[in-house]
């Protein structure tokens, strides 16, 4: 393994890193929006919630459980018609964002749900006693009070998405995981495999550190 080998590989590595970043960043944004909404709905529709609607809670809970029980590779294939409908293609980075988001939303929804449940009921009660409406309680009390815990949940979700994105390589989505499989696994190129895996480990470490740091900074007060 000489220098020319690595310099030829470098553009591939860079491209793969960009692909992974693109898939993960975009699906994370949609996941936070969708998962937080779903998590809030799960909390407020539950028994003794702000707007108790038990049947809706049961349905949402069921959907989330189904979403969470499907293995990602199955989901990826199963929803290809939906993916084509949404983004017009079933291969490539853009196409991977759809199943990634759909797989991560129920995951983050459960994390968000448990974060929101940790908010002291007394604080919610105080807000009600001050004349807050339901919307104000969600926006001014539940979410801000749960924020440190929600940030940790986002970090865990991003890391899961990085893992899923490697599997999405199976539909030609590109990315670091795909690189590791194609060069490392299928062509028995251990050097590339090790480099991509090390890169993934470093990225995951950075995200977990950033999440913990952000949560601690907010929770300190």
């Amino acid at each position: 393994m000489d220098w020319s080998y690595w310099s030829a590989l470098l553009p591939d590595l860079w491209q793969a890193t960009q692909d992974t970043a693109q898939m993960v960043v975009i699906s994370t944004i949609f996941t936070i929006i969708g998962g937080l909404l779903l998590g809030i709905l799960l909390v407020i529709t539950d028994r003794d919630g702000l707007v108790e609607v038990r049947w809706l809670h049961a349905i949402l809970g069921f959907i989330v459980n189904v979403g969470r029980s499907l293995p990602f590779i199955i989901l990826l294939v199963a929803i290809t018609p939906f993916t084509r409908l949404l983004v017009g293609t079933t291969i490539g980075t853009t196409a991977a964002i759809v199943p990634l988001t759909i797989a991560a939303i129920p995951f983050f929804a459960r994390l968000a749900e448990s974060s929101l449940r940790e908010v002291d009921n007394g604080v919610v009660e105080a807000a009600r006693a001050m004349g807050c409406n339901g919307w104000q309680i969600i926006v001014k009390v539940l979410v801000p009070e749960a924020l440190p815990s929600l940030i940790l949940g986002v970090a865990v979700t991003i890391i899961s998405l990085i893992g899923y994105s490697a599997i999405a390589g199976a539909v030609g989505a590109g990315g670091l995981g795909d690189l590791a499989i194609q060069y490392g696994y299928e062509r028995f190129d251990t050097g590339v495999m090790v480099v991509t895996v090390v890169l993934l480990v470093v990225i995951v470490q950075i995200i977990q550190f950033a999440g913990s740091w952000g949560a601690a900074k907010i929770a300190r007060h």
Binding site: V123, E125, A129, M130, K140
Partner: protein, 326 residues
């Protein structure tokens, strides 16, 4: 100010029901501090939470001023809640907000402008003695300071009444005193009407004008604190002046409970009993309690021999309440 009429709250359905409040009625006059005293499980929390409809009573009505609270819902109820301040045992502050932003919270909900909020928050923090801590977070405060923030927040919208849900139960005795003093000052200077629930007799003794005793969901006694305390057979007096129950009078002895208020305490009554009526006096228990400006005392003595009937007449003529239990 607050009129509660036949308030009942029943939990559960059909077969398994728990009566938390059983036809409770009382009236809190404007400008007074009214205490509801009871053991845990007596229904105090349910009672205070019914007043701003955090819990809806099963039956009965609540009026604050002319407004029937129990008839309200939705927006009208939320508007009315803004006129009722509330403080809590565990303070219930928002940890994600600074002291100033916690106090500003109700004003924010009501749609005050930022500058109006800032001005009001400054006043309030000074009022509760927390100026200089505006930028601190709740986690950086002591329990007493947190409750001061809670009080400032409860008063932000200039409410007609303040509800206090065991506000001092999580505080040490010293801090409890300082919070009670603050509440009394607010009552005196602003004429704030306070309805508080507590299991601490000290709270009632220190600041309440009137008290109601709640037991198993029922009001079993109600009246002015000084009047009830001076009445030896009242539940309040019995709790304040506990007697050694195991004591049985000896043969030929008479046990007498003497209650006195203020001036009568100056008379050397025991010396007079011994000297003038040829009686042997044995002190069983004695206690003096202060209620604001009023001093109340109770003395339980055993009298043996001599002219006991004449001695009791003498005590009664002094204006003392005398209870004889042989």
């Amino acid at each position: 100010m607050i009129t509660i009429t036949n308030l009942s709250k029943i939990y559960g359905q059909k077969e398994k029901t728990i009566v938390a409040l059983d036809t409770v009625s009382f009236n809190v006059p404007q400008g007074e501090i009214f205490g509801v005293l009871g053991q845990s499980g007596a229904g105090k929390s349910t009672l205070i939470r019914c007043i701003n409809l955090l819990e809806r009573p099963t039956s009965g009505s609540i009026h604050i001023k002319e407004q029937e609270i129990t008839a309200l819902k939705g927006l009208a109820l939320r508007k009315e809640r803004q006129r009722i301040g509330m403080i809590f045992q565990h303070f219930n502050l928002l940890n994600s907000r600074t002291v100033a932003d916690n106090v500003a919270f109700p004003l924010e909900v009501m749609g005050y402008s930022r500058s109006a909020r800032q001005a009001r928050v400054g006043e309030l923090l000074e009022l509760v003695g927390l100026d200089g801590r505006a930028r601190a977070y709740p986690a950086q405060l002591s329990g007493g300071q947190k409750q001061r923030v809670g009080i400032a927040r409860a008063l932000a919208a200039k409410p007609d009444v303040l509800l206090s849900d065991e506000a001092t139960s999580a505080l040490d005795p010293q801090t409890t005193l300082s919070i009670l003093e603050l509440l009394r000052d607010l009552n005196r200077t602003m004429g704030l009407t306070i309805l508080l629930i507590t299991h601490q007799m000290d709270v009632v003794k220190q600041i309440c004008h009137q008290v109601a005793i709640l037991e198993a969901g029922k009001l079993i006694e109600q009246g002015r604190v000084s009047a009830l305390a001076a009445q030896p057979d009242s539940r309040l007096a019995q709790t304040l002046f506990p007697h050694p129950e195991s004591y049985r009078p000896r043969a030929g002895a008479t046990v007498v409970t003497i209650s006195f208020t203020g001036d009568a305490t100056d008379e050397p009554i025991l010396s007079n009993l011994i000297r003038n009526f040829d009686i042997n006096v044995n002190i069983l228990s004695g206690n003096i309690e202060n209620f604001g400006d009023l001093r109340l005392g109770q003395l339980q003595v055993e009298l043996v021999g001599g002219q006991i009937e004449a001695a009791i007449d003498y005590l009664k003529k002094l204006g003392l309440r005398v209870e004889v239990n042989r």
